[in-house]
Amino acid sequence: MDTRLKSPFMSGARYVIDECFAERLLAEALSRGGDYADLFFEYAISGGFGFEDGILRSSSRSVSLGLGVRVMKGDATGYAYTEELDERAMFETARIAAQIASDGGNTPPINLAEATYEARYDVRTPTLALPGEEKRELLRRADERARQLDPRVKKVSVSLAEELRELVIATSDGIFARDRQPLVRFGVHVIVEEGNKRQSGNSGGGGRFGLEYFDEHSPESHAEEAVRHALAMLDAREAPAGNFEVVLAAGDSGILLHEAVGHGLEADFNRKKTSHYSGKIGEKVASELCTVVDDASIPGSRGSINIDDEGRVPTRATLIEGGKLAGYMQDRHSAAHFGVASTGNARREDFRSAPMPRMTNTYLMPGQSDPDEIVSSVKYGIFAKKFGGGQVDIGNGDFVFNITEGYLIEDGKITAPLKGVNLIGNGPEVMKEVVMLGNDFAASDGVWTCGKDGQSVPVGVGCPTVKIRSITVGGTAL
């Protein structure tokens, strides 16, 4: 394999990190009396290719290497990181993080043993190890397909982002774990023109895969989808404003769950009682049709992880079961507060940030209804097919999400395309308005990135066709 993809942390490499060294560094981190400490070594290589106007216009690569040290004392955290992995710099970093504690207590002996787990992704041939020409060819195929599909296609841009992240995690409660996380994301964006009308369309996907991702999702299929989307929107009319029945298509609509439910169920907000779901375990927070889980074990999914960023193997967290609030997504600190086990949802953007409870793959489980019957049950409403992004205020539950491809439903039939529009609602209120769930569950093709406190992590979403009895549609037509 390419030298730059070789582990810098394994024996014989540049920065050997073994249990013995980690034990010494953890001891230093706890030397001022911290209750808990962890180390997060990261070596991440990422690459990006941009194809525009028929040529590979940009190629970039970035290397990020460092160590983050966290020390906890009660509810307080000390955090420090370094990009210099020499022994002096690493011990100095541990001493800085240690300062959050000041009673200089005795450090109990730390005994680390390497953890094993079942792999959820294959890292034998990460895309970064393959010649650039192969990847350039994938971009070209999508570009050519998009151009030949329709003369109204005026601009095509295709991108490929790839990443390989190598982690060594050690905690003062005995965990020593390594992981390698591949990630690839492909995207096609087109602009079409007809007369004086212009519209854009896009398609994207990926996950924790190598180039085998493209065996099932060809570059051409993404080009076709982007062009279809853009052309469909050329005739878009003003969307209505007000409260309507809305049908969400299976798959990416899961972003609604992510916003309406997911963030509010991250345990840190509930430990601090700043979420509107605080103290509501066992209570009805959604229609009884709804069961929502967060599952990091989906093979190859963008949000999947073998271990979380505290070194624990995530379990499938049931958040809502039959409409009742079942539990939160936990990291170590919040789990201790609630007296439960961590669900392995501690994640961080990189070694520069402390971990916090985050979503992985958040799914609304399927129901019994035929998706066609769901659409035909709507007299007048909106069919939401593709989405931009969303946001939530976890304190009061208000959320928005943006539809980039939507249609009117009139007398049970999908009719006119609508201009981009936002849906706005209140999480718990909207979840009680879920009146039909399809039997057609679909997971998003990996494109989503979730932001919290300035940290971005890749996530997956998924859901069946969903009918919501009433939600506010932010159109312009009254």
Partner: protein, 455 residues
């Protein structure tokens, strides 16, 4: 020049030399180093203390019309050797881009400090963890003591950051700068009916410590904003005049400036791409991009390609006068660079705005509100509902009703929508309450009517 700047120039120069000796015709490197400290408190107790230093090296190489772009935080000899090899490999993979190339050397400046922008406060690094906690505690305490309904808190955070960066071009010309920044944000929470928690926040941010508002004032203002949201409810759908608070006016202006950047324009991702020289907004709207504001948040003496900074009028009395261009987008559009290149820490170049100044009007915010019989004063927006190709805009919003010229009941869970082409022409009043806490310096303004979707 500081020792740190000299060190960074030296580091960047070495990378340029290595890349040139390995066959790159053009090599440009940017080296940076910064340190920061951040202290958060919550409910009167320390919650998080973070202290670290960051560094990086970004390199852009070209040969003929091919480009490669790389960045690393691994500054060991081995790390830098890999960086240079990667850059050349990516460059060879590239394809001829007729517009590629460095800036015209005739236009590039000499790197001299021709003006003191006063972007660095040497006192900032003296704030240690204890002092930072003290400021954060004072801010949170002030917020929590305002009103018993503030029963929870997302805490308060004091942050300071300082650092330097240096750009070295192929011919050895070097450009460096030193900067600092500090901020305090306070985030109280008040409990409302229906178990809803109302968040509000307020922050102060400046390049110099002496320009920060006092922690107590920040806390009190955060509390005032939080309490004001209690009892927020939907309003019926309809067409209403909308007054934007500076906090949200900033994001509206940001959307407009975003579609006037070279990259958006040549990619066809701008609904204003074909409108240069035309009236695109009400004549009250006048926007200037000015990189030379003393102590400005986004000020700089040179752009990312080494061109001397200058103020550019973007919209003159409602007429679209100029895009913001780097030399690449300028070549693509057959225009001249406006010295708006921004080179990110990772070495990539794109046109960007610096300090955007919206010309204030005569009225105070109170006068503007009094001039609005019935309407909506928007203080927060949510979501991403903007299509830059068509200008269609729809976002979640919250704020206050305006009844008979006065602020009334709080409003939430609604959307406001209107195509930006229309919106810019419907601006019918601009106030004089310019908010200087970010790089977009805008007062409140009013849009004669937008569609509100509510109950």
């Amino acid at each position: 020049m500081s020792e740190l700047e000299n060190e960074l120039i030296e580091r960047a120069s070495r990378a340029v030399e290595q890349a040139r000796s390995k066959g790159a015709e053009v090599a440009e490197a940017v080296a940076s180093r910064s340190k920061h400290l951040s202290a958060s408190v919550r409910m009167g107790e320390p919650e998080h203390l973070e202290e670290a230093g960051s560094r990086g090296l970004g390199l852009r190489v070209m040969s003929g019309k091919k480009t490669g772009l790389v960045h690393t935080s691994d500054l060991s000899d081995e790390g830098i050797a890999l960086l240079v090899d990667d850059a050349l490999e990516l460059m060879r993979l590239g394809e001829d881009d007729p517009y590629a190339g460095p800036a015209d050397p005739e236009l590039v400046g000499d790197g001299s400090n021709y003006l003191d922008l006063d972007l660095y406060d040497s006192k900032i690094d003296s704030i240690d963890g204890e002092a930072a906690f003290k400021a954060a505690l004072a801010g949170e305490e002030a917020a929590r003591s305002v009103d018993p309904r503030i029963e929870n808190s997302d805490g308060a955070t004091f942050t300071r950051v300082s650092g330097a960066r240096a750009l070295v071009l192929s011919d050895g010309r070097a450009f460096s700068s030193l900067g600092s920044f500090a901020s305090l944000v306070v985030r109280p929470i008040a409990l409302d009916e229906g178990d809803k928690r109302r968040r509000g926040f307020y922050h102060t941010a400046a390049r110099h410590l002496s320009d920060l508002e006092a922690p107590e004032a920040v806390g009190r203002e955060a509390a005032r904003r939080t309490i004001a949201n209690l009892g927020a409810e939907k309003i019926p759908s309809g067409e209403l005049p909308i007054v934007f608070d500076p906090d949200v006016a900033r994001s509206m202006i940001g959307l407009v400036v975003g579609v006037l950047l070279g990259g958006s324009v040549y990619r066809g991702q701008s609904f204003l791409a074909d409108r240069l020289g035309e009236t695109i907004a009400d004549s009250r709207l006048h926007l200037v991009d000015d990189p030379l504001v003393i102590r400005g948040h986004a000020s700089r003496l040179y752009d990312g390609e080494g061109l001397r900074s200058r103020a550019n009028t973007i919209i003159r009395d409602g007429v679209l006068e100029s895009f913001l261009l780097d030399s690449y987008s300028a070549r693509r559009l057959g225009m001249e660079s406006t010295a708006s290149a921004s080179r990110g820490g990772s070495g990539g170049l794109a046109a960007s705005s610096t300090n955007v100044l919206v010309r204030p009007g005569e009225m105070s915010l109170d006068e503007l509100l009094r001039d609005t019989h019935e309407g909506l004063y928007v203080t927060q927006m949510m979501g991403f509902g903007f299509n830059s190709v068509t200008g269609d805009f729809s976002r979640g919003a919250s704020g206050f009703r305006i009844d008979n010229g006065e602020l009334g009941r709080p409003v939430s869970e609604i959307t406001i929508s209107l195509n930006l082409n229309e919106l810019l022409n419907r601006i019918d009043a601009i106030a004089n309450n310019v908010d200087r806490r970010s790089s977009i310096l805008t007062p409140s303004f009013r849009v004669a009517s937008m569609t509100v979707a509510g109950s």
